[in-house]
């Protein structure tokens, strides 16, 4: 932890904060572009069921008649205080709805991304070390198949075969709906059920988690396989790999111990992108598996014309992607010291 590294982290942190503010500004601009008058804006905030006269009053009460820059400052400070608007369906602050649904999704997405990353690293390394053999082509066929398939197809096929066909795993819901949910302490079902020592719920939740997580892993591992294969092919041509062979190390040691460890560094940057893609992809996975997380809620909100909800979810997911990007940047800095100079 030298000062240079701290400076690097601080710089990235400042960048992340600026990016968050810019992102909120973008949402703000978009809202003001599609709803140029205070009444239109008020309609965005409270939903479509009020007559124009009432909208005028609501606009005044929400401060939407103020100058744009005042509204912008209110909006940004509101975001950092956790004020994302009020849900038009539930009538409670948006942040409470998100607090309830987002951890469920995050749990699933993180596990799915982890699966995808492990699968991608493994298959990519195998393909690179067996270049131009049937194994390589097999890996390529596998990832092309899952990557090119529309995400809902992957989910539905898994659901049909493993769920309805073989009756191995449950096909919908976060856990068995008969069980009572453990008291929300952190919001994450995993931690909550462990804290409450509710092992039945934990077991049910784990079984329900498997299919969505596998789906997310399958639809996201292709890009990691491709990058791993490319960097591994480069790494296997390097002099230090030849030296390792000359030292008399076996192929397995060289591939996994030498080449692989050097090749995975650039993949860290892809992790954040994968995370971003899978949080977005969670919408469709949750829709297929009726997994009641933020994505499922977003689709329901869209059908119910709940504008504040969908905007709040967009902002929160964007925010979490920026955080993931920041973490990936710092990790990259730890793993590859050369990056800290830039």
């Amino acid at each position: 932890m030298d000062s240079k590294f701290l400076f690097f982290v601080a710089r990235r942190a400042v960048n992340a904060v600026i990016t968050v503010i810019l992102m909120i500004a973008l949402i703000f601009i978009i809202m003001h572009l599609v709803a140029p008058t205070p009444e239109d804006l008020a309609r965005l905030y409270v939903g479509p069921k009020f007559p124009p006269a009432e909208l005028k009053l609501i606009a005044q009460r929400l401060g939407l008649t103020q100058p744009v820059y005042v509204q912008f400052v209110t909006y940004v400070t509101g975001f950092f205080r956790g004020n994302l608007g009020t849900d038009t369906i539930y009538g409670i602050p948006e942040i409470l709805v998100i607090e309830e649904y987002f951890p469920v999704t995050l749990n699933m997405v993180l596990l799915g991304t982890l699966l995808g990353v492990l699968l991608g690293l493994f298959t990519g390394a195998i393909a690179a070390s067996n270049r131009n053999t049937p194994t390589d082509y097999g890996v390529k066929a596998l990832y092309l198949g899952t990557w090119a398939a529309p995400p809902f197809l992957v989910g539905v096929v898994l659901q049909l075969f493993l769920g309805y066909g073989l009756h191995l795993l449950p096909t919908s819901n976060v856990a068995n709906p008969v069980l009572s949910v453990p008291p929300p302490v952190t919001g994450f079902p995993l931690i909550d059920s462990i804290l409450a020592q509710d092992w039945t719920y934990l077991y049910s939740w784990t079984r329900h988690l498997i299919l969505p997580a596998i789906t997310i892993g399958l639809i996201s591992f292709g890009s990691i396989t491709r990058l791993t294969r490319a960097t591994m092919v480069d790494a296997l041509d390097k002099d230090y790999v030849k030296l390792a062979y000359m030292k008399g190390l076996g192929q397995r040691t060289v591939v996994w111990g030498t080449a692989f460890r050097n090749a995975i560094i650039p993949i860290v940057t892809l992790l954040a992108l994968t995370f971003a893609a899978t949080v977005g992809g969670a919408v469709i996975v949750e829709y297929v598996f009726e997994y009641h997380g933020i994505g499922f809620f977003a689709v329901q909100a869209a059908y119910a014309l709940d504008y504040p909800a969908i905007l709040a979810i967009t902002v929160i997911v964007g925010f979490s992607v920026i955080i993931a990007n920041f973490i990936a940047d710092v990790l990259y800095g730890i793993m590859d010291p050369r990056v800290r100079l830039t």
Partner: protein, 335 residues
């Protein structure tokens, strides 16, 4: 990316035994990032010798040519108010109900109308899949081209000008990159009204950040090349340097990314259609057909499966070709 082609460059030079000397102004061609192994002609020549990539290219060609003709016919049919014109090429009318054929399974009986089975109102699924093709083709081409144009303008100016302009442009790019595509498209279609155009505009507005980052990296690495410095010393304006040197030399590697991206756009578009975003009621669309078909699955497997396979086939074609082009421009031709 940058690393990839520097590697290749050094390897290539090693191979030819030519030394790189930054002090000598070399003619442009010799110092392009891709050396002699570049250019559309080379790519075409290479693809021709590679059966897998060739089949991908063949599939794409069929998809694009069919979509253009079919799309023009659909436009013409709409313009002349003569719907029969829009299904001139299709095996059957994709809109007329045929009661008695509801959810009939695929058969060779009424070839090729019944080849992929019928939907819940007895319309041929094959016809409906073919009718939907132009929308996907138009979406992918428009969105990728607009992403390249926007990304190029922002990325090259950020990389070439540097300093504060770079910082600001890259933060904006990061902010756009953070947006969850599907959620934003849902929000937009909710606020602006559900339609094809809204989805197109949203995707166009948000698809460019990866291209901006890529062009920026290219511009940064090209900026310090000998021939760019030489032209700057000889008094060329920045605009001319960007147009004459930076842009032509960074467009080649983009071909690979863009080819892969066509598939991504189609996937995203069909995912949105699956959720009912950006589709017009009654007009066939691959994603929405799959969604409707799912309510009859698994007994009526053909209704959901064939539209999904249509999406998959197109995306696989783009991936096969794009993968191989990427291998070439990234320098891994050692196959």
């Amino acid at each position: 990316m940058g690393d990839g082609h520097t590697n290749r460059l050094t390897r290539f030079r090693l191979f030819k035994g030519r030394q790189r000397s930054p002090s000598v102004a070399v003619p442009d061609q010799a110092e392009t990032p891709l050396g002699e192994t570049s250019g559309i002609r080379f790519i075409v020549g290479f693809v021709r010798r590679d059966k897998i990539a060739l089949s991908g290219a063949f599939g794409i060609a069929i998809f694009i040519v069919f979509s253009v003709i079919q799309g023009l016919l659909e436009l013409l049919g709409g313009y002349l108010r003569n719907p029969s014109l829009s299904y001139l090429l299709l095996p059957s009318d994709p809109f007329t109900f045929h009661f008695g054929l509801e959810l009939a399974p695929p058969s060779l009986a009424n070839f090729p109308v019944g080849l992929l089975g019928y939907d819940e109102t007895g319309r041929s699924i094959l016809s409906r899949i073919l009718y939907a093709a132009p929308r996907d083709a138009l979406a992918s081409i428009l969105i990728v081209v607009s992403a390249i144009v926007i990304g190029m303008a922002l990325g090259i100016s950020a990389g070439y000008i540097g300093g504060w302009a770079d910082e600001i442009l890259m933060r904006i790019t990061d902010a756009f990159l953070a947006f969850p595509l599907i959620l934003l498209a849902i929000a937009m279609s909710l606020i602006l009204g559900n339609g094809y155009l809204v989805v197109l505009i949203t995707l166009m507005a948000i698809w460019w950040p990866t291209y901006a980052r890529f062009f920026r990296a290219q511009a940064l690495s090209l900026k310090s090349r000998g021939y760019v410095e030489a032209s700057r010393l000889s008094g060329l304006s920045s605009a001319r340097i960007i147009l004459r040197h930076i842009f032509p030399n960074s467009i080649d590697p983009i071909v690979a990314i863009a080819t892969l991206d066509f598939g991504n756009v189609i996937l995203t578009y069909s995912t949105l259609a699956f959720l009912g975003i950006g589709v017009t009621v009654g007009v066939p669309e691959w994603g929405s057909m799959a969604a409707q078909g799912l309510s009859y699955a698994p007994r009526v497997w053909w209704y959901a499966l064939f539209p999904a396979i249509a999406i998959m086939a197109v995306v696989v074609c783009f991936s096969l070709l794009g993968d191989r082009i990427q291998d070439m421009v990234g320098g891994r031709i050692s196959y």
